[in-house]
Symmetry: C2
Subunit: 724 residues, 2 copies
Amino acid sequence: MARHIIVLILCLPCFFPLFAQEPSGYNLWLPYSKISESPVLKEYTDITKTISLPGASQTLQIARTELNRALKKMLGAPPSVATSLRADPTLLIGTKDLLPPELQKMVNDDLSRAGDEGFVIKSVKHRKKKILLISANGDIGILYGVFRFLNLMQQHQSFVKISLVDYPKIDLRMLNHWDNLDRTIERGYAGFSLWNWQKLPEFIDQRYIDYARANASIGINAVSLTNVNANALILTPMYLEKVKALADVFRPYGIKVYLTARFSAPIEIGTLKTADPLDPNVKQWWADKADQIYSLIPDFGGFLVKANSEGQPGPQNYGRNHVDGANMLAESLRPHGGNVIWRAFVYSEHDADDRAKQAYTEFVPYDGKFMDNVLVQTKNGPIDFQPREPFHPMFGAMPKTPLMMEFQITQEYLGFSTHLVFLPKLYEEVLDADTYQQGEGSTVARIIDGTLQNQKISGMAGVSNVGNDMNWTGHPMAQANWYGFGRLAWDPYLSSETIAEEWLRMTFSNQEAFIGPMKEMLIKSREAVVNYMNPLGLHHIFDTGHHYGPGPWVSELSRPEWNPTYYHNADAKGIGFDRTPSGSNATEQYAEPLRSRLNDPDTCPERYLLWFHHLSWDYRLKNGKTLWQGMALKYQEGVDQVEEMIATWKQMQPYVDQVRHKEVQMLLQIQLKEAKWWRDACLLYFQTFSKKDLPEGVGKPTRTLEHFKSLKFPFAPGIRPQWN
Amino acid sequence: MARHIIVLILCLPCFFPLFAQEPSGYNLWLPYSKISESPVLKEYTDITKTISLPGASQTLQIARTELNRALKKMLGAPPSVATSLRADPTLLIGTKDLLPPELQKMVNDDLSRAGDEGFVIKSVKHRKKKILLISANGDIGILYGVFRFLNLMQQHQSFVKISLVDYPKIDLRMLNHWDNLDRTIERGYAGFSLWNWQKLPEFIDQRYIDYARANASIGINAVSLTNVNANALILTPMYLEKVKALADVFRPYGIKVYLTARFSAPIEIGTLKTADPLDPNVKQWWADKADQIYSLIPDFGGFLVKANSEGQPGPQNYGRNHVDGANMLAESLRPHGGNVIWRAFVYSEHDADDRAKQAYTEFVPYDGKFMDNVLVQTKNGPIDFQPREPFHPMFGAMPKTPLMMEFQITQEYLGFSTHLVFLPKLYEEVLDADTYQQGEGSTVARIIDGTLQNQKISGMAGVSNVGNDMNWTGHPMAQANWYGFGRLAWDPYLSSETIAEEWLRMTFSNQEAFIGPMKEMLIKSREAVVNYMNPLGLHHIFDTGHHYGPGPWVSELSRPEWNPTYYHNADAKGIGFDRTPSGSNATEQYAEPLRSRLNDPDTCPERYLLWFHHLSWDYRLKNGKTLWQGMALKYQEGVDQVEEMIATWKQMQPYVDQVRHKEVQMLLQIQLKEAKWWRDACLLYFQTFSKKDLPEGVGKPTRTLEHFKSLKFPFAPGIRPQWN
C-alpha cells in the first residue's frame, strides 16, 4: 500500500457549514450566544449567582423559563432561579407588591411612571450588598423587564450603574397579518401563514409559542390574525374555536387577538338581507357576535376593518358613512372593552380628485364623531407604502380622533423578501416628520403616541412580514424590520441607528469590526432602494398586481389611479405629479409653513420633488445637474449602493454563520440584478419622453425596453387569491 | 426580608421543554444522537480512528462531510477523514478502482453483483489488521454505503463480522411532487411546496440541500418536481433555468429531475394550433423542447405525464391513443437518454363500465407497443389510494411493458397529516400480493422490480408527503412513511417490521422499552385507519373534493363514479359493490386461482369483501356476526385502536423529546376525535338502510347524522386550485 500513502491528511471542517446543523435564523434576535469576553462575563456570573423570581402566573413562569434558557446558553450553566424570595439574591425580579418594603420604597417613584406594562431595572444596595432589581407594577412588566435585561446582556452591557425605567409610549403595538384562510398571505413573501387552521384548535404548533415569545421580547401586545380583505367565515363558531386556541397561547405573553370584520358578514354568515349599520337587526347581529366572541375570548381585542375600500363592502353600500359603520361596531364591542380599528385607506373610482387627497377629504370632517373605542388607522403616506412618501396629511389634522399608524413591514413595494432594506430608517423618517399642525415640533410621533393632542388611546400597527419560512421573514436581514417595528411601537423616539446596533449585536456579533460597517450598511440600505426604484419623489411605478419590478409604462388598467402613468405623468416636457395649487392642490392638506415650502420646487425637499411637482427634463437640481441627468444618476447610485453592500457583506464572513452568510450573499446578487432591472427599465422608458442620452457614469442597459415590458410573473407570491 | 425567605428553591428545567431549542424533527432519521452505551462505543471509536475516503468528486465530498458530521455528533469528537489513502486506516472507504489490488480481490465478486449504485460493507483482514471496508463501483455507491454505515451505527449494530452487499432492486426510485407553481400542493398536508420558484434560480434554499441529503440517505434517485395536473409554464425558459438550479443541487446526491409535461404545451406556450402527437410540427416542438432542456440539464430524467385523465389534455383529444402520445414524447427524449413515465390512472365519464376496470381495459391491449424508454405508472389499486384496495389487476397483465408502481405517501385518504398511519405496512401488503399471472409466486414486487418478466427498466414512485413544515411531513411520525417508501423502493422485499424498527431506532431511541411497543403501534396503525374509515372492503366514501372526513351520503356529483354511493351501493337489502360475474365482473381481470377465490364470498378475504360483493345486512361473517354487526364492530375496533395508541404513546415520554411528544399527543387526540366522527357518521348513515340497532360494544354516536352532513371545510388543504 506504500504507493498509496498520502502526503496530505485533511480534516474537513471546511465542508461542515455546507449543511445547516439546525435551521439557521429560527432563533431571531434571541440566539443567546455564549459570552466569552471576560469583563462582562465576570459581572454577569456574579449578578446571576442567586436569582429570585417569585409568583405563579403563566406570564411569570414564561419569564423564568426565558431566563433559565438564556442564561444557560450565554453563561454555560443552568442558573438557579427560585420561585420565591431568597434570603440574599444577587438578582431579584418581582412585581412591586412582592418586594420587601425597603425595596418598594426605592422603586416607588420609578414605577409610578412605568404604568401597567413598564418596568425598572436598577442596581441597588440592599442589606449592605449590591443587587440588581427588576420590578414592575404587573406581571407583563416583569416579562418585558426580563426580556430587556437579556437584550442588554446580549449586547454585553454593564449593569453596574444601571437605573433604567422604561415603559411603552404607545398603547396598542400591533402586527396586522394579511393572512387568508387558505394560508396564502396577501403581500406575504416569507412562505405561508403560520396559522394552520386545519389543525387548530387541538394542535398547538410550537411556532405559535415561539412567535408569541418573539413578539413579547420587543413589546408587541396585539395581533390581528386575518387579512383586511376579509372572509366572514373567520367569525363563524368553527373558526372562533380556533381563534380562541391562539388567543390562549398568546395571552400569557401579553398579546391580545384582533380579527378583521367583513362588513357584510351579517348577510354572508348570518341570515340577514342587509348589513346597513343603522338597521336594528344588524346592530343586534353584531352585538350577539361580540357576545359570542367574548364568551370564548374574554380579552378579545376587537375588530380591524377595511370598509368601502378597493371593493370591500362597507356602510356606504347602504348610504351610510364611515362614522356610522365604525360606531355601530364599536357599540357592540364597548360592553366588553374592545376596540374598533377603522382603516382610512380609501380612494374611489368615482372621485376624479388626486388619490393622495381622498382619505383626508373624506375623514377629516368626521373628526370628533367617532366613539372613544374607535381608532382610525392611517397608512404612513397618502398613497400606498411606497419606498418613500411624505407623511400622510391626516396626521395632526384630526385632533379629536386617535390616529393609529399603519406601517408595512412586509416589503410589498420594496423588493419582496429578496431585497435587503432596513425599514426602521423609513419609519423614523415618518415619525420624525414635523406636521406643524400645532406649531413647530408637532411631529408625527407625538401625534401617534397621543401626547400632542391628548388622546385617550394610541396605536401603531405594522403589516407583518412573518410567514412559515424557516427563518420567519424570508430574508435573514428582514428580521430586523420586525424587531425594529416592535421597538419603535414601544418607543417612537428611538433612533434607527440605535435599533440597528441593538439588533446586530443581539443577532450576530458584538465585534466592532462587524457592528461598524453593518450599521452603516443597514442605515444606507433604505436610501439605496429609493434610488434604484423611485428616486426624487417618483412613486407607484410598479408592475401591476404583484408589485414586483418596474412597470412605469402600465396605462391600461380600468381605474386610472391604478396606472403608474397616473403618478409619473411623463411627457415630452417633463415628469412628476403637480400637487401644488396649479395642479391637484394636495399640498393644501398640509399645515403652514410646510405647505408653502412644498409648493415651491426650490424649497421642496428634493426627495419629494416629483411627488409634488411636474418639472421639465431640464429643470436644474441643487447639484447643478438637469432633472434627467439627476434622475439617471440616482438610479445608478442605487445600483452602486447595492454593489457596496455586496462588498461590505463579503468582509463580514468571520462574524456570521456560513449558511446565513451564503443566503444573504445570494440574495444580494438578486438585489443587484433587480436594481439594474429597475434602472434600465425606468430609464429606457422615461428616455422615450426625454429623448436625451444617459449621462456619463450611468451603466448601459443590458436589455431592451421591449424585453422589460414583456416580463410576466403569473405566480409571483402575495397576490390576492381569486376567491377574494 | 426574613419573612420572605423561602423554604423551597426550585430550579426550573421542567419548564425548559415548553420551548424548542431548535425546530423539532428537522433532522428526520438522521439526528445522529450521541452514543453512550459502551459496547458499541468502544467498537465504533476503534473503527473510526483513522479513516480514508479518497476521491475528489462532489458526491465523495458529500460522503466525507456526512461522515464528519455524523461521527462528531455520535462519538463526540470530529474524526480525521483523509481525502487520500492512509497507511493504516481502520476504516477504508473507496471505489474499487482506488483500492490496493489485494483489497480489490476481496470485493471483486461482491461488487460484480452490486451494479452502479450498490456497495459492500465488509470487515476484512489487511496487512495483518482487521479493517472495515466500504467499497462500490461508483461514487454514488460510496455515498449510499456511507449512509448505510451511519444508519447501522445509529441502530448500534456491530460491524465485527459484517459482510454486507446491497444494491437497489429497482432502477427508478422516485418521489412525485404534486407541487403547483404558486407553491400550493395538491393533496399536500405538510405546508407548501419546498420549491421557492420566486427566488430561484439564484437563491438556493438550504432545504433543497437537506432534502436531497435525506433522499440520498434512503436511496431515492429521481424526483418529479411538479403536479401531474400540470402547468405548461414549467417548460418555458424562465422556469427551466430554475429547474436547472435544483437539478444542479440534486445531481451530486444521485438524484435526477423529472418534470410533468402538459400535453397541450405546444399550444399553450408554443405557437401551434394543435398538440396532435402525430403532427410533425408537434413532434418537432417536443424534440426542440427536449434539446432545450438537455442543454441546461444534461442528465434530465424525463417527463411524467397525466393525459386524458380527469380533464387533463392528451392524445385522445386528437383521436389518438396513449401509445401515440407516450411514444411521441419518448422519441423526443430518446436521443438524450430520458424516459417517459405515462400514468395509467384513467377512467372516463363516457364509459359506463365499473371505474375499477377501465385502466386495465384501456391499457392491457397496448402491451408491447410502447417504446422501450416508456414506463407505465400504475397506482397500487384500481381505484384511488384508498386505505385498502386489492392490488391493481394490471400488475402482471402487461408482460412486455415495464409497469411502474405509484404509491401515495401523502395521506389524501388517510387523515391528512393528522392521523398516525404507518404506510410501509400498506405498501408491503401490495408488494407481497400474489398476482398468479405466471403461476404461484408472481408477486407484485417481482413484477415491479422487473425480475418476473425480464424488464429492462423498473421503477417505483411515491407521491411525496413533504412540504415546508418545519418537520417536513406535518405529522412527526409521517417521516416514517417517507423513509419506508425509500427503503422499499430500494428493496421491495424488506418487511414493514424491519423498516419500522430501523426508523424508530434512528429517529428516537434504541431502548427496547421504546422499540417494542412502538413497533407494534406503527404496524397496527394501518389496520386501525382501515377499521375506522373503510372496513371490510368499503372504499371511496370520503367527503367530496377535499377527501377529509366521511361523506358516504354524497350522491349528487356530475360524474357517477365520483359519488360515494356509486361505491358502497347501500340499500335496504345490503351493501357492497358486486364485481363478480353477476355484477361488473371486474374479477375477470385477475388471474386464476385468485379470480375464483375472489368471486366466492366464502373464499374472498374478508378485508376485500365489500369491494367485490354486494351482501345482505344479515350475511354471516367468519366470526359468526352479521355483516351489519361486524361492520359496526370494525368501526368501533378502529376507535379502540386509536385509544390504545394514545395509551402506548403516553408511556413513551422518557424516550422522546418533549416538543415532539406533545405534538404527537395532540395529533392522536384529533385522530381519536375523527375516528369517532367516521364511526358515527358512517354507521348512522348506513343504519338508515339496515334499520338495525348498533351491536353491544359500539359507542353511541355523539351527534346526529344531520350534523355530520352539515360539516363544511371550504379551506381544507390540498384541494386543486381553481386555476388548474
